[in-house]
Amino acid sequence: MSVAAQAPPADERVGKPGVLDRLVVRPEIGSLLGALLVFLFFSVVTEQFLSPGGVATWLDDASTLGIMAVAVSLLMIGGEFDLSAGVMTASTALVTAILSTQLGWNVWLALLVSLLFALGVGALNGWLVMRTGLPSFIVTLGTFLALQGLNLGITRAVTGTVQVSGMRSTDGYSSAGFLFASTFTFGGTSFYISIVWWILFTVVASTVLVRTRFGNWIFAVGGSALSSRAVGVPVMRTKIFLFMTTAFAAWLVGSINILRFTSVQANQGIGLEFQFIIAAVIGGCLLTGGFGSAVGAAIGALIFGMARQGIVYANWNSDWFQLFLGVMLLSAVLVNNALRRRAERVRR
């Protein structure tokens, strides 16, 4: 109607935001700035940090954390948490190790069973959360404790100790090790293959998140599960799949660890779940869901790796790492928050 055309609501007539403002609304912008700062800082104060060997070390440190952080970021965008993710990295390694060292299975077969186990636990997490309507924080706290108990109990029952070792002498170790734990040489320096897995995983996750219809559903179920269900988004399937993705990532990391170190402690992985969440939050994920970025989470993990190794190169006591982490987390969240506010103002 002519009237409406003449007088559209004033608040929606603002022009297009500029390039800077559009950049600023990206969720990963805070982590990018942080990564840049940390990088410059340690490049200046230490010598090893920029050396090829140094780079390989902090990239490697970031890689396994990064794989998990990326998976966890998808889950968080979908509005859920997984506190069992850290222990899962040990559980999967233990399953593989016990099956191949104690029962003499071929490593590949052990890996397959371990994968099925992980996917099963992920599906169970998701199913319980969706079925009971309980917060995933509680449900996965339960799986976290249960897995922790299983890890210790079964390991002790089978080996009599709290660790499983001896992977090197198992069938199929060399081929599996090639895939998960080998190194490759680039410019004269050798890098762990886990870095490749990390990059690959990030690229796939990010593509799914921003380019596919499923990615759209992830944002939608995290933003408002009820509204999404009302328009036919398969909320349950989406969330269960996200829990399974996290479990898959834990399997990948568990496999990388067991094949590289050839042994695993039954109490490994505890406490890591918070590092995954911290990296995802530094990368721009909101705790409330519906907002975030997979690339951001990968960058968050990169900050972790750079700082952890940088502190070593600087010959500081590693006690300082926690302080650094706290400051980093707070400032990233504050920066993200401030930028988002600004973006909202610009767009209003």
Partner: protein, 534 residues
């Protein structure tokens, strides 16, 4: 609505339906029963919708309208009853099943994902994709085309929905229903959040849909709308169908009688003797400005005076109220209560000075949905209900029960969780909060949004009572007759600018609409406005 007289939509599409079609309804629901714990929301409802008609669903707050359409949308499963879709029995097991049949629904509580863009929301659940990959360009182009069709090409498809105004979000919701190519579109109080020009726009679309043979089920508490676009009417009362297939021309009195079982003479308030005491300036706002929202707004409200603010959605009305209340910080200007200047941008200072605000967005700003109504009602006045930190629950319950009875809350049980009440009843709880507290200045933002005719009359009476007790009331409403009938003085806003400040008695609905739309009413009006503001 004055615009109705020359509106093209007046031709009732339903009346063009031939006798053959009349025999074969598109949808027929019979004996639908739906129970919630403690309430039988639907108790044997009948509804029959013909192809290409605009079928209006009327009923008081809590009558079961939204529940019925949720059954139709596949969001609720009925306990009993039969649904025939084009003559065939249909099971609406899920939202997807309903959408597949061609039933698209615009829910009463806006049902969008705030973090997604306009285009993503429009196509959520039926994404434009190839091999699982989103075709974002296509989705954006189609969403843009839909927004153009809705007369709002200025809303870009990549804009985040959470950043749009209520009216903007309503449009997105509408675009989504259109995107489904549905045969039946259900609209649950779509005009509650819209100003009159937006309503005209919506009605144009509804007319076009009906002409294309799409049926519309339309729910509204604004009875005059029924006559403008409706074909036939079904009336619900306490979960039962009390009349169906009535012609849209049925007199208002008769419809109200059917809905409530009693006589309500007028829908809008009749002007009463003003209670304003010119000697006592209670609220004084001077030069209030927020860049991009409103500029240089000044007004005074005396004790016992009701000041109405009229204007389009987006003219800055809610923003002004929120700024007076301290929820937004002004760039310039001052707010004083009883001659004392308030600290800018501080809600607690405003509340301490006796200002109360019943906000427009009840879900996000007003209510704690998981708490009982009683707690919600006394939330702002807990201080008066507690001694040494302990709350007097009995008195809390008794007082809220009294107010809620006055406002005709249904079901009349203050212990129930707010979230389980119907939309209109939730709105009553928001308003009740400030009635219990007793304030010096009461700011009401769209207080009757979604409230039925009977409860509305009661609310108007309460406002008059408050004014008679010396409270200064500021009322924002999109319904001009409501502003004119309730207020002593009217401020007309357009794009954040005060264009007129005049006694309500000197204004007609046409004057207000003219100023609101054109910015300049008759020249004599502009003169008066200057006079008033000087």
């Amino acid at each position: 609505m004055t615009a109705g007289a020359d509106d093209p939509v007046l031709a009732h599409p339903g009346q063009d339906v031939g006798p053959d079609d009349l025999g074969q309804p598109l949808l027929r629901m019979t004996g639908i029963v739906k129970e919630f714990p403690g309430v039988r929301a639907l108790d044997g409802v009948e509804l029959s919708v013909l192809p290409g008609e605009v079928h209006c669903l009327l009923g008081q707050n809590g009558a079961g309208k939204s529940t019925l359409i949720k059954v139709l949308a596949g969001a609720h499963r009925p306990d009993h009853g039969e649904i025939l879709w084009r003559g065939e029995p249909a099971v609406l097991a899920s939202p997807v099943a309903a959408l597949r049949l061609g039933i698209a629904t615009m829910y009463q509580e806006l049902d969008l994902v705030p973090g997604l863009s306009v285009a993503e929301n429009v196509f959520l659940g039926h994404e434009r994709s190839r091999f699982g990959f989103s075709r974002r360009g296509a989705a954006r182009a189609e969403a843009a085309a839909l927004m153009r069709r809705l007369g709002h090409a200025e809303i870009p498809p990549e804009r985040e929905v959470g950043l749009l105004s209520a009216a903007g979000q309503q449009l997105v919701s509408m675009a989504r229903a259109l995107a489904h190519d549905a045969r039946l579109i259900v609209m649950d109080e779509p005009t509650a959040a819209l100003a009159s020009d937006e309503v005209d726009n919506l009605f144009r679309i509804v007319g076009e849909l009906a002409a294309d043979g799409v049926s519309v089920v339309y729910i509204s508490h604004r009875l005059e709308e029924i006559r403008r676009i409706g074909s036939r009417v079904t009336v619900l009362k306490d979960g039962r169908t009390v009349a169906s297939g009535l012609p849209a021309g049925t007199p208002t009195g008769e419809l109200v009688n059917l809905m409530s079982g009693r006589q309500v003479s007028t829908v809008f308030p009749v002007r009463e003797e003003s209670a304003a005491d010119e000697r006592v300036e209670v609220l004084k706002v001077e030069g209030l400005t927020r860049a991009g929202e409103f500029a240089d707004v000044s007004f005074t409200v005396h004790a016992g005076e009701v000041l109405g603010i009229a204007g389009l959605v987006g003219a800055g009305r809610s923003e002004i109220l929120e700024t007076v209340f301290g929820a937004r910080r002004p760039d310039a200007g001052t707010v004083s209560v009883d001659g004392v200047r308030l600290k800018p941008g501080s809600v607690s200072a405003a509340v301490k000075a006796g200002i109360g605000l019943a906000p427009e967005e009840r879900k996000s700003q007003g209510l704690l949905l998981d708490l009982p109504v009683a707690h919600n009602v006394t939330l702002a006045s807990l201080g008066t209900y507690s001694t040494a930190g302990f709350t007097d629950r009995a008195r809390e319950m008794a007082d809220s029960r009294a107010v809620l009875e006055k406002l005709e809350l249904r079901p009349a049980d203050p212990r129930r969780l707010v979230g389980t009440f119907s939309g209109g009843n939730q709105q009553k709880a928001v308003v009740a909060r400030w009635l219990v507290r007793g304030c010096r200045v009461l700011l009401l933002d769209e207080p009757t949004r979604g409230v039925d005719v009977g409860a509305r009359a009661e609310l108007y009476r309460l406002v008059h009572e408050l004014a008679a007790d010396g409270v200064a009331v500021v009322l924002v409403s999109s319904e001009v007759p409501e502003v004119l009938g309730l207020a002593d003085r009217v401020l007309v806003l357009r794009e954040g600018e005060v264009l007129a400040d005049r006694p309500a008695a000197e204004l007609t609905e046409a004057d207000v609409l003219d100023i609101v739309m054109e910015g300049s009413a008759a020249t004599e009006l502009a003169g008066v406005a200057e006079e008033a503001s000087s």
